[in-house]
Chain length 746, copies 2
């Protein structure tokens, strides 16, 4: 790949980005698109009549949204969208800062050294190969390698320092978040699982007895979790049907069978009514029914936050597989459908999912190899001789090497988040945020493995997996990464720049909205497609770009300005989306940050290992020698941060909750909180579909679920309702296809 | 190695064992050896006058000690030597059981298959190579390999079942141990470290204030830990000396200098007196002095066990590096010299020690390679041609291949436990049992790596570390293990059988006792050399033999009877030693078992992996296919045990302590316990050398320390006191040397 190809690619992507952003600035002014671009305002019911702007103004692109996104302060975002959103934006800010420093160092120090490395005759800039700008152009044993080592030191130290301050400030923010959430019922509540089955008592009686016995002074009440899974429902329906039929045939054969014929056309319909707790129960005893539907899990409420935390953290029973306690998630965060899973299944589920994820990762080698084949055209034309004619054309060549790899990779990558979300759900987390965090980690591992490692090493890894040793890895990476710099640059351009502008335009939601208005002609303006922020896809994306940036920084510094532009754009776009589009349903309190921290440390360490390999290849023992203490220092820094900050993200400190309890007792607000507590966790209201069709979004699990992109992507919901996020994941691809049709037209 | 060599080796070792055991049965009857063989009785002051047996009886070997060791019940041992000893014996019982099963299966099924494997002409038994009895003799693609696979299934399933029941019974025993230790002060006590430094207050005030604030209802008292390290002492002595001299020269130059001259001949002596808290303080302010000597750690006493456990398990402060709480160890178990270590150093210490241990393990490759060279005589004579003449002699050949490797290896191995004990001490554990457990793990890893892996693979591993991949390991092991079976058999004979008989005779203690009586002519009969049981050397030894047994069982079944004899002998010998010799100073409550469990699972998995490799080499895809589900099943079983039992070894369950608290409250014994609590943890009494020369062994840390083999081995104590355990570690070697001299004499 030469400079001209890169510039073509950059030009095309800049054009796409500018066009899409302008389009967005026009589209957002159309009143009809209000429920595409301002769903948050619609949901939060703070919908004020917008000034009717003149017809002319409405069709002129304007940068007002950029100003708005820029001007919103962190406190406003915190108040509006919660701590998770702020932490997400902090990832971008951190990336901008570190890559600013890296750009300055690498462009002014490393790039000239690379460019004038070998005393070769340079061609004209446009037809210069990109390798001329990479470390591949520095000759072996060059005394100028100190500049790379120096840059490595500056970038590593800056990254560690920035990470430290970010971790510190986010920990502080998390503590403030906990201290500030005085009314949150979750700090008073413990989720108890694996309640032992007593022969005489119901689960509810067991729970009451146990906590009255051991936590008499601080136990308030408890609330059972009922089995509500689909399979459960079908099974219990079938069982009741059997019981009814048995009764029918045994006792009053005529009367009931008659009633069955005329009264209820199908038994399941009838049983659904019988099922409803609010309705009348015709068959069977309600008490026995609910008792049978009780699962071995319950929410237990305590009088103080401290008592709840103690109950959650202390080992309850001598048998660690009984009376397992955890601090409850927020009411909206509870994943009700997972609560009934028997606790003793969880470890098997986790292992199974781990193996399934690994299998999925390795099955994915197939498409990645395809992508790899596309970047090496000579191999492709060797394998398919009939393509040789087409591939010789310059435009096709540029298209195939420049775009197709990224597009194909992205196409395949879009199937990953839904799969991982499904995997995470099967694993059995008790909260939606936990599920999202777990999916985020899976997607992250997957992305780093498949996009980075396999792509870089595919030539060597697939064939030679057997003769690959640990010691060879730095050397192999050092050989492969500079050669792949071109691919990473186009990846930043296509997946990064163009992806962001598609994110902001939301083409699928837009088209759906248009179709609904024009074709289906619905009048109602309620927001049917409010989405919560897809952290599990966006965080790995940002971290992957971070990894690429760190690794390429000293090897091939030309990528840094492109990355920097990407992060600045991401800052504006995601701020705008957080302010206007995505709604916040639940909070994890910044639990995503430790993942970000660890991944960034991993990226820095990878950068150092690859640099070590490169210095080895270039025969510079001094530079290698200086890199090793840096590597050790980085690992020690990580360990320190793990000791210093990480427990605060897993547990809640006693002093904090005790102080909160005392404040509440002084203010006399405890009684009120107890009142709220009793109605905070309500499963039956949330899951019964027929009983009440509440329009309150936040209290309606099924509607909530529809709006939840992960539930949609899992295909758990009726296909007609799946429109938006599923298609949305293909939006970038669609826009590409449109673009290519448009290109060929001319 | 052929059968004759094995038989010679076995004959010699049987002779040694029988002679030493007879010697023991005579020596133990001599009244003068009472404080060598009955130290436990002497210490526990239950010394009853033994019947004066007749002169003749005293010099006739008798098996009475075997009967005594056999007849003592588990309950008696539990009462006498505590739970750790019972758990240790359970390791042996488990080994006997599993290797009985393995012997039956392998000797009657696998061994005939091996022996009649190839239709080769068998030589006469004595000159038959040992390989004829191993799986190496089965031809490729043999349909008889199902018998090996079947044996593998039986052994694996039996091991898992036995492990499960042992884990269950030990968990139950641990719970009973906790429930039974009603008076133990450690369940009421929390060790707080990393107390923040307030500018105005002393540490003691901070602790009092903090716990009065947050744990007002259950906080009882606290007690500071004072800095008492040697360096600390020297530094504070020097500082005080400086202060005194400064005062002297500034205020009363004449009077004091005079007093210095005549009153106290050396300043350190004088300051030692000033140091003593019980004595009068001449210079400086006591209050300021003790305050300055306070370290950032304290024992905090609570009113109930439950409160202590809560305080220990809950995260105290928002900064996880402050107010770190742990449940306190037993008073005799406290490692006072480690308590003052600043908490923030611990993670660095741990990492450093980890690296140091790894380095030590790899440096050890040198002697192991030497040993490897000895077993391959041809290589040795190739390297040193002048040895060729000597090595051709049959006796020398047998000696060099049969004994020297084991002896050399053992000689080097005797330096390992003291080193690992030192490493574990530097790591900063707060209890002696924790230190021993940590050393045990290190010695275990070390032994398995150096005795097993390196020995087996040394030919391939050292030269070819770079071209070694994960996939090749089973194959390499499968090739190497059957060839090394001869070495392992001699290892069992020398290190196992002869080692045990040396353990029981305690030659070094015996000689020392003799010298003391005859040469130094001391009359006092007090036991100067009471030892606590060296779990950190004996547990890895047993587990190593277990590993060897599992791995060789189906490959080379001839080793099993030898191992079985070893374990039966070990059962008798260790029982005898526990009943008569070693005293119990502290209890860890069976915390060693999870290590044993994990190592055994590791051994079983290794056995299966090597079997997989062997079946691969022998081209039996069916047997390989059947081994894989077994491997997965074993790993799942291990994970289940980890979930089910392991937390009970790390935490104390709330229900148990609450029930204990209630029982005490009902009985009204709480006040008594509080009284005892106040004086339970006393550092100053234990560390001041001059103030009181208490004869109470259990309350005197320094004397305790002298008797502690690990402290001795670390060389922390005056060399004259080091006699017993340091030399004892060389006892086997010494006995070997004696034996060889004796051999050559004839």
């Amino acid at each position: 790949m030469d400079v001209a190809a890169l510039l073509t690619s950059a030009g095309i992507n800049i054009a796409i980005t500018v066009v899409l952003l302008s389009l967005y600035s026009i589209l957002r002014k159309q009143p009809s698109n209000l429920n595409v671009y301002f769903t948050r305002r619609l949901v939060s019911s703070r919908r004020t009549k917008r000034k009717g702007s003149s017809c002319f103004e409405r069709f002129v692109p304007s940068p007002s949204w950029i100003l708005k996104a820029w001007e919103t302060t962190e406190d406003e975002i915190l108040a509006l969208a919660g701590m998770d959103a702020v932490v997400f934006l902090k990832i971008i800010v951190f990336s901008i800062r570190i890559f600013c420093i890296a750009s300055v160092v690498c462009l002014f120090l490393v790039l000239p050294v690379n460019y004038f490395g070998k005393q070769m005759v340079h061609k004209q800039i446009p037809s210069e190969s990109l390798e001329v700008f990479s470390i591949a152009n520095v000759r072996e044993g060059s005394e100028w390698l100190w500049s790379h080592c120096f840059a490595l030191y500056i970038i590593s130290c800056a990254a560690c320092a920035l990470l430290y301050f970010e971790y510190k400030s986010i920990t502080k923010m998390r503590l403030e978040h906990i201290t500030g959430s005085l009314r949150s019922p979750n700090y008073f509540t413990v989720l108890v699982r694996a309640i032992p089955l007593a022969s005489e008592e119901s689960y509810s009686d067991s729970v009451g007895k146990y906590f009255m016995n051991y936590y008499a002074s601080c136990y308030l009440a408890h609330q059972m979790v009922y089995r509500s899974g689909t399979v459960q429902k079908l099974m219990s329906d079938a069982e009741k049907m059997y019981r009814v039929l048995k009764n029918v045939t045994a006792e009053q054969p005529k009367l009931i069978s008659c009633r069955l014929c005329c009264g209820a056309p199908n038994s399941f319909k009838m049983l659904k009514e019988a099922d409803s707790v609010n309705g009348n129960i015709r068959y069977g005893d309600l008490d026995r029914d609910t008792r049978e539907k009780e699962s071995a899990a319950a929410f237990v409420f305590f009088k103080t936050r401290y008592a709840a935390i103690v109950a959650a953290e202390v080992l309850q029973s001598a048998n660690p597989m009984l009376w397992v306690t955890d601090l409850a998630p927020e009411p909206h965060d509870v994943l009700w459908s997972n609560l009934w899973i028997p606790y003793r299944q969880l470890w098997i589920r986790k292992i199974t999912i781990l193996l399934a994820s690994l299998a999925f990762m390795f099955v994915f080698l197939a498409p990645v190899t395809l992508v790899q084949g596309l970047t090496h055209l000579d191999q492709l034309s060797h394998a398919f001789p009939f393509l040789r004619g087409i591939l010789k054309q310059n435009f096709v060549n540029q298209l195939v090497t420049g775009y197709l790899p990224s597009v194909v990779l992205m196409l395949f990558l879009y199937t990953v988040p839904p799969t991982m979300m499904l995997f995470s759900k099967v694993e059995g987390p008790i909260s939606r945020s936990g599920r999202k965090k777990s999916a985020c980690i899976k997607v992250l591992y997957f992305t780093i493995w498949n996009v980075f490692f396999v792509n870089v090493l595919s030539g060597s890894i697939i064939g030679q997996l057997s003769v690959f040793t640990v010691r060879q890895i730095p050397r192999k990476l050092a050989e492969a990464v500079p050669l792949q710099a071109g691919f990473f640059m186009t990846y930043v351009l296509t997946s990064g720049w163009a992806g962001l502008s598609c994110e902001i335009v939301q083409p699928v939601a837009l088209i759906w909205n248009f179709m609904k208005k024009i074709i289906i002609r619905t009048k109602e303006d309620t927001s049917d497609c409010t989405l919560s922020f897809p952290y599990h896809t966006e965080v790995p994306k940002l971290l992957l770009f971070g990894l690429i940036g760190f690794i390429c920084s000293i090897l091939s510094p030309l990528i840094l300005p492109l990355l920097l532009i990407y992060f600045v754009l991401a800052y504006l776009v995601y701020r705008n989306q957080i302010i206007n589009v995505y709604i916040t349903k639940y909070e994890s309190g910044g639990r995503i940050w430790p993942i970000v921290h660890n991944t960034t440390i991993f990226s820095v360490v990878m950068m150092q290992i690859i640099a070590l390999g490169v210095f080895g290849l270039k025969r510079s023992p001094v530079a290698s020698g200086f890199t090793i203490p840096l590597l050790i220092g980085t690992l020690l820094f990580n360990e320190y941060c793990r000791q210093r900050f990480s427990p605060a993200f897993q547990k809640v400190a006693a002093e904090i909750v005790i102080d909160m309890d005392r404040r509440d007792e002084r203010n006399g607000t405890m009684e009120e909180i107890y009142q709220e507590l009793m109605s905070a966790y309500c499963q039956l209201k949330l899951t019964s579909k027929d009983s009440n069709k509440s329009t309150d979004v936040s209290h309606h699990e099924d509607r909530d679920c529809i709006r939840d992109p992960e539930a949609l992507k899992q295909g758990l919901i009726h296909p007609m309702l799946k429109y938006s996020p599923y298609l949305e994941s293909n939006k970038v691809t669609l826009s590409y296809l449109c673009f290519f049709i448009f290109q060929n037209w001319n």
